[in-house]
Symmetry: C2
Subunit: 413 residues, 2 copies
Amino acid sequence: MSSAVSPLAPTDVPDMPAIAGVKLATAAAGIRYKNRTDVLLALLDPGTTVAGVFTLSKCPSAPVEWCRAKLKGGKARALVVNSGNANAFTGKTGKQSTALTAAIAAKAVGCKQDEIFLASTGVIGEPLDATKFDGVLEGLAGTAAPDDWMGAARAIMTTDTFPKVATATVKLGKAKVTISGMAKGAGMIAPDMATMLSFIFTDAPISAPALQALLKAGVEDTFNAVTIDGDTSTSDTLLAFATGAAAAKGAPKISRASDPRAKAFVKAFNAVLADLAEQVARDGEGARKLVEIIVEGAKSKPSARKIAMSIANSPLVKTAIAGEDANWGRVVMAVGKAGEPADRDKLSISFNGIRVASKGARDPSYDEAEVSEAMKAQKVQIKVALGLGKGRDRVLTCDLTKEYVAINGDYRS
Amino acid sequence: MSSAVSPLAPTDVPDMPAIAGVKLATAAAGIRYKNRTDVLLALLDPGTTVAGVFTLSKCPSAPVEWCRAKLKGGKARALVVNSGNANAFTGKTGKQSTALTAAIAAKAVGCKQDEIFLASTGVIGEPLDATKFDGVLEGLAGTAAPDDWMGAARAIMTTDTFPKVATATVKLGKAKVTISGMAKGAGMIAPDMATMLSFIFTDAPISAPALQALLKAGVEDTFNAVTIDGDTSTSDTLLAFATGAAAAKGAPKISRASDPRAKAFVKAFNAVLADLAEQVARDGEGARKLVEIIVEGAKSKPSARKIAMSIANSPLVKTAIAGEDANWGRVVMAVGKAGEPADRDKLSISFNGIRVASKGARDPSYDEAEVSEAMKAQKVQIKVALGLGKGRDRVLTCDLTKEYVAINGDYRS
């Protein structure tokens, strides 16, 4: 396993302001790792609303099933996250584990079990011993404080090479509100699977249905537009919590996502999602290059998305980028296999702004030396213009390197 | 680029008998490679019928478009295949190239252009200079002979590490008929893309519509059930030719695929397809292990296929196998992401006959040492039982190794 920080890690880490109504605490519960924190407790003031989106896997983890069920209440008082064990594919034991964790947390926090939200990431198929939370969560509830966002982001890491946080402050009505979030990404947990977890907190007063609508719309072009290897975890979880504390400062209560007063808020909320999602791509397993794929001129946006994802998930495209080759032939291949409307003779393709193919053939101005130089950059943009309509989309991914294979295949040797 | 023969290459290479009505010849036309053959001409006696299936790519190569159009006539007198240049994404030039090649071939053979079939594999985006065939095809038409199947299979190779042939002899009515084929597989052509080409020949008298129906049905569980990396070439082509010469020996003319007299023939035909398809998987880029995925107990066969393909194309499953790890967690993940009906708590998973997971959790009898030993085998079978219905399917793939990344990413350095 590589422990070096990804060369694509952001160089600027933001100062993470406290959010009224949110307190954080972490501990080392010894779930799997030694000498590091592996439990996060986020305490949420009464009145906090919650929204969530989850993996589309037909075999979701026990915590995913727990959260889906509890989301109906719309209220949250605590979030408990552990790393080291995903509590996935653990049969009935898994369900018992979530129930026991929630019971321990509810007692520690002094709330209903239905107000506890859970996420787990780590090995799968091994029972999660929830008794390890006994005592630990009580202690955390006592020491939780508003500031340690980096510590929180670190406690939920598995093989992420850097903690991922993002924040934005924006006006809602006349009050300043803050949106802060953390994520863990598609670093593998030997010997198991990648999971994306992300948690967003705000002091803005947003009703649960409005928050759910915002989140659902917000992920579409952020987390849902990132792929590392096309594989989908059983545990992917994105939860958003709104404490409403800013109402005391005069922030208007938002009960519809379309409320015009929330326009700036929505923009900032989406920016936080986008920032975290990009950090996940930047920490893709073995990644050496961040790859942005833009498809335009498609029949529709969904069609553009499907083509962009076909390119982003193509092992041949990804290995070519690792090899710093503007291999537009593989891009054509990936466009062709997407099954979406495409006309070979109208297609044009650029790498980092240099057009390499147009109208169904190599661009007349193609200069291999120029393109090769451009491909050395850490960020590679592939732009495909289909020339058919107005559909446009953008997805992020990373290259496919030998390091990816080593991380995911060599851990036993 | 690796030039070592795949460790998965078959050890037994069959003697390839002549097929009445088929003559083969190869030449070095210098299309791209030096010191090797790169053109194959297959001469077919008058009356030969033809069928074909092609890539589903929306951006097919010029030869694919040529063949699709000519298939309507149902008659073939010659097949011309070149390696080194795929004549794909070459715009109008590509179309002119196929027309010129067909014109040269038709003149050399003495037939209509509509009876010439073409396939090209190699770099894409570079114009194919069809004038290189001038003179060459005429010479080949003069020297073509019934025997050199291995030479033919070699001339169509790109980065394949071994030539791929298969043959079967079977009774049709009271006459012995032969089915022989060759394929080239998913070896990369630096700096471009994998292409699967395969050509099947028989002396059986089969009408073009019957042959088309047989071929379409036959690929379903053979070539269509093989995946290397989920990427689809613009050039994949499988053509079948039936000379009908065995009619002179008393073989009945088959004009419907469902003709009961053709039962043994169909079985042998499918066996040749299956043999060639497996060889393609055995020559997957960087492959060290042949992987057979069996999904049973699905709601339907198409559902089983979708799940099997999701497993077969999962980079995480494929890297685990490269690492000789029976990582059933990743198999669960791949089942879950397929989007098909699956009940986590009914799922069981075996690796090489050893059950590692059952009823939604690790199998109680799981013995890591035993499983690890089994994973060292060159062939790994993953069996997933869903416990939902009677749908069953099987696909072949190979592992994902660092060598794959090297072949596809390192060629420029």
